[in-house]
């Protein structure tokens, strides 16, 4: 009977993963509940598999999953969630920057009723320009978009209730957005300050060149969080906005320009803008209907956006 699963995605961490596993095992020994460690080897090409194999053979709780090639952190996490057997999941980085001793605190928060508890690396041990500044900006944007007041969306050290996270579909680069998606389905999201160590060995797999991806992902997140179950509302709003623009330009096109000299482009400019804006408004409406069509014809099996329910039975 396993009740706690620690899930660690690793990619080329031969120097870090060994010490981390040793620390983690002793931290888990102190926690009085059955636990397992699920390490997902995301197609490492260095000595990581050998290190994992050594630890696995000497461990009572280490399970090792190997993906067929490098699929990225989200896929590795999804594979881990799929394989883990506990009631509570804790995810950690494989680079040793998270501290296993923080797990107890996260578990206590889950006991207190949260569905997701996210670590907050308040004192980050990373370069300011390349890691901390971009991540602060991104975090503020994410908090704004999702409405979840977290300081650190990117921290991998998080604890989840298994019943909740199994319902969230993870694909592409979604792992950063789990708290946002969680809040969108009405989960209670909490935060706890955790330690952050400098990297022991190896080098960071992130850099600055992700801005475009992050930006488009945020647009998508906003759409998914607020409108995934009613896309027509989203596109309908866009359509109404564009229609208003079209009506305004039409009005300008036909207004008596002898008195309003400023908008004296009416013969060409305003009519063409008005026509295109009308087209766009119509197009948005059709897009929204198409989304409804796509959504209503597939039946998501307990999709991520059905609101969460909490059961409470009152004995007679």
């Amino acid at each position: 009977m396993v009740t706690l699963s620690v899930i660690i995605p690793v990619y080329n961490e031969q120097g870090s993963i060994g010490p981390l596993l040793a620390e983690l095992e002793s931290a888990l020994d102190r926690i009085p509940r059955p636990s397992e460690i699920v390490v997902v080897d995301d197609g490492s090409g260095d000595g990581t598999p050998a290190v994992l194999e050594t630890h696995r053979l000497n461990s009572r709780r280490l399970r090792v999953l190997r993906l067929r090639r490098n699929f990225g952190q989200t896929a590795a996490l999804a594979a881990g969630f799929q394989a883990a057997r506990g009631d509570v999941f804790v995810t950690m980085d494989g680079d040793g920057q998270n501290d296993p001793r923080d797990i107890e605190g996260l578990l206590a928060d889950l006991e207190a009723g949260y569905d997701v508890v996210s670590g907050w690396r308040r004192h980050r041990a990373d370069s300011w320009v390349y890691r901390r500044l971009p991540s602060q900006t991104a975090n503020r944007l994410l908090a704004e978009i999702t409405g979840v007041r977290l300081h650190d969306f990117g921290c991998t050290l998080k604890a989840y209730r298994a019943s909740f996270i199994r319902r969230v579909t993870l694909y592409a680069d979604m792992h950063r957005f789990i708290p946002g998606l969680a809040a969108a389905v009405g989960a209670r999201v909490g935060e706890r300050v955790v330690a952050h160590h400098p990297r022991r060995t190896g080098h960071s797999k992130y850099g600055l060149g992700r801005t475009y991806k992050l930006l488009t992902d945020m647009v998508v997140l906003r759409l998914l969080v607020r409108f995934a179950s009613q896309p027509l509302h989203y596109f309908g709003l866009l359509s109404i906005g564009t229609s208003a623009l079209a009506v305004a330009t039409t009005f300008l096109a036909f207004v008596d320009t002898t008195t309003v000299r400023l908008v004296n482009y009416s013969t060409v400019v305003m009519p063409s803008v008005a026509v295109l804006a009308f087209c766009l408004a119509f197009y948005f409406l059709m897009m929204g209907l198409m989304c409804e069509l796509a959504l209503r014809t597939t039946r998501p099996r307990g999709g991520a956006y059905a609101p969460m329910l909490r059961h409470e039975d009152i004995p007679a």
Binding site: S59, L67, A75, A172, V269
Partner: protein, 351 residues
Amino acid sequence: MSEPVDITCVLALTDDSPEIEEILRQYAAELRDRGQSFEFVLVLDGLGESRTARLRARMPAGVPVRLLHFNQSFGEERALTAGYREARGRLVVSLPSYMQLDPGDIHQVLDALERDFDLVAGWRVPRVDPWINRLQSWAYNRVMSALTGVQLHDLNCGLTGLRRTVIDEVLVEGNAGRFLPVLAHRRGFRVGEVRVRHLRERGRAGFFGVGVYVRRLLDVVALMFLTRFITKPLRFFGMAGGLSVLGGLLLCGWLVLDHVYGWSLQGDLRNRSALLVGVALIVMGVMVFSLGLVAEIIIFTNARNMRDYTVERELPPGRPAEGGPPAQDAPAATARPRQEAPEEPAHRDPS
């Protein structure tokens, strides 16, 4: 009916295939040399009653052949897909439907599969067709390998060998041909190629024709889209739409400033048809962008049914948990291949 065999050879027949008897005989002889069980699967792409009857009469004796019929023609690619899907062998090899290659080369493909590859493509060297055709297909293969990152020299060879698992995990309707190596590579399968001897080539010399070029170009577009953006369509549509909007804004901005400051002589905005172009660019960009949003919603809705990673193996802890019985996955040191999609058995048994 469905006892497993070692090797299944799949042929997609789109015409009368005058050499089919010869092909079956020669490849069967080569396969008998290997001492493994084999079967041939012939997919008849809507050949009609009389041609099918003639074909049936030409089947050589002593060669296990299964015929699969389409009632109308769906093309070679879909016929091949159907053949792959029905194949029962552990290894599956597609064969050209005429004497394109030396039958003895099938050993190379099968050996490479047994040894260290999951999918092996044939590479025709030296090519026997005229230089103009060689040049065209060289260019095509170069472009494709640059775009996909899969270093293959010959995507159009009729001889491809693959393991059953590749079919189970990668094959979707209509991608059996040129795309399969690329998609398999993306799934983390080991993709290789072997040199095969090119005997002759069907089809005429010269430029392949506009239709072929258009279809190949669409292949490239589809492949780029499939390999890079399938789970994140907004990254693609957002890029296209964003560029369009940006261009439109720059154009309109310049026209307005020009109108205000009169830099060029025809500055008056009323006379500038370029304004229409600018506005149209903006509108088009917004449309493309919102298409991306729609695609995202569709992907999000279906994400539960598509898994974009594969677990190669899963290993339990080496020592039993304290107090309890040994882990349920024992014996400990052996890899347990993980069942993909348990609700859909990989091997369908009609009985």
